[in-house]
Amino acid sequence: MAVAFLATVLASVVVVPPVVAEPPQPAKGRGDKCVMPTDWMRRNHMKGLIHHRREAVHEGIRTPTFDLNGCIDCHQVKGDDGKPVKISSPKHFCRTCHDYAGVRLDCFECHASRPEQKTETTTGQLERSPHHHTGLPGHGGEGDVAALNRYLEGAGK
């Protein structure tokens, strides 16, 4: 009896494997490196985005470093149809981590979740909006990071 009970306890402890979800593997961006080190981005990307949003909307400062369109452009994930996926797809760059962390994301109720689709002109050339943001990392980045640091220090982090 005692042996049978012990066996049952052991079986319940040993046999049932713990369920651990695989850590997310967000899509790598274009180019060699991101606008900031990966560790920094994991913790602070939202601070950079919020700081930039305030400056861009109210003061017209449209630097590329923390521009959401830059992230979307660089980290686009192609779907089965060869076009970048929208936020409705679980493969979307932002969703891979946010789904895992259970953090709801409402940026894309208003913001475009994929780069503007190229349109083919009558001459057969691919045309992009003249105001399209290239999203290349590094351009003007030092000034942006310094401004962000000042903002974070002033805001009490």
């Binding site: 003061e59 449209r62 943001h133």
Partner: protein, 291 residues
């Protein structure tokens, strides 16, 4: 004599979409006369003489200015206004529009189409509720039946009533005079829509998809003409102005009202211009000619 501004009561969908029941309240009653001949019937000879002198001077100036005018019509003369991307906008500039209703072709919708395309706005089906950042007004003088068309949008006031009433600070005026809604802060109360004497703002009632990357828009926010702020910040001109120039009518000019050398400031200094409901003291940044 009074002039009555009327919103179109029908749309391309005909009677089927119910637009005919829209709350087309008249937005403005301006005391400006529509045609000089009619207006001068009861004035004294001195006044007539003064008008003749002004008209003659204006005609002379037109000849002198003609090359510059043509240049500006295609939106290039002020394109050197791009500021460095990392610098904030400043009150040294005030962006404005000058619209010559006399050049606005009856039935032309090039500015409206260009605005919708640039900002990702669907062609409105229900004029009472769907977003319209710019519309063409049919203006009719009830006394003599004369009509003309003029484009109408957010007037980018320097004393904007929408900003006064906004409870959250979402509605704001940028240092360079462009009146905007910060959708991150907007709670969708629509108080600004009530306050705006120009009926220039719209509310987004339904979820949107496939917005333009440069123009985020979404359900639950109030919005209006941004004077294509994303283009202006890069040294461009608003899409409506560009489209109007492409039609050859060139009824719209964009530029810096504070720069005495800009084409818009020169024209405002030269010709008689009108601002809609200037009596309200909102100090609009949109000027009209021939209304």
């Amino acid at each position: 004599m009074s002039m009555k501004f009327e919103f179109p009561e029908t749309c391309s969908e005909g009677a089927a979409c119910g637009c005919a029941e829209s709350d087309a309240r008249p937005v403005a009653v301006a005391p400006a006369p529509t045609d000089v001949e009619h207006a001068t019937v009861n004035v004294d000879p001195v006044e007539v003489g003064r008008r003749w002198f002004l008209k003659a001077s204006a005609a002379f100036t037109t000849t002198i200015l003609a090359p510059g005018v043509t240049l500006m019509a295609f939106g290039e003369a002020d394109s050197a206004h791009a500021k460095p991307a990392d610098q904030p906008v400043s009150a040294k500039q005030r962006w404005g529009l000058l619209i010559d209703a006399g050049k606005c072709e009856q039935g032309c919708k090039a500015c409206v189409t260009a605005c919708n395309e640039e900002n990702g706005i669907a062609t409105p089906k229900n004029l009472a509720t769907d977003a319209q950042w710019i519309r063409t007004l049919q203006v009719k003088n009830p006394e003599n039946g004369s009509t003309f068309q003029m484009p109408f949008m957010c007037q980018h006031c320097s004393e904007p009533p929408c900003v006064d009433v906004c409870p959250t600070g979402a509605s704001f005026r940028r240092a360079d005079g462009i009146v905007l809604v910060d959708r991150h802060i907007c709670i969708g109360c629509r108080y600004c829509m009530m306050a705006c004497p120009y009926k220039a703002r719209s509310f987004v009632h339904e979820p949107l998809h496939d917005q333009k990357p440069e123009v985020p828009r979404g359900k639950g926010c109030v919005e209006s003409c941004t004077m294509c702020v994303h283009r202006v910040d890069e040294g461009g001109t608003p899409a409506c102005v560009e489209a109007c120039a492409k039609t050859g009518n060139a009824a719209m000019i964009f530029g810096d009202l504070h720069d005495p050398n800009s084409e818009i400031a020169k024209r405002i200094a030269t010709y008689r211009t009108t601002r809609v409901r200037a009596d309200l003291g909102t100090d609009p940044g949109v000027f009209y000619q021939n209304i």
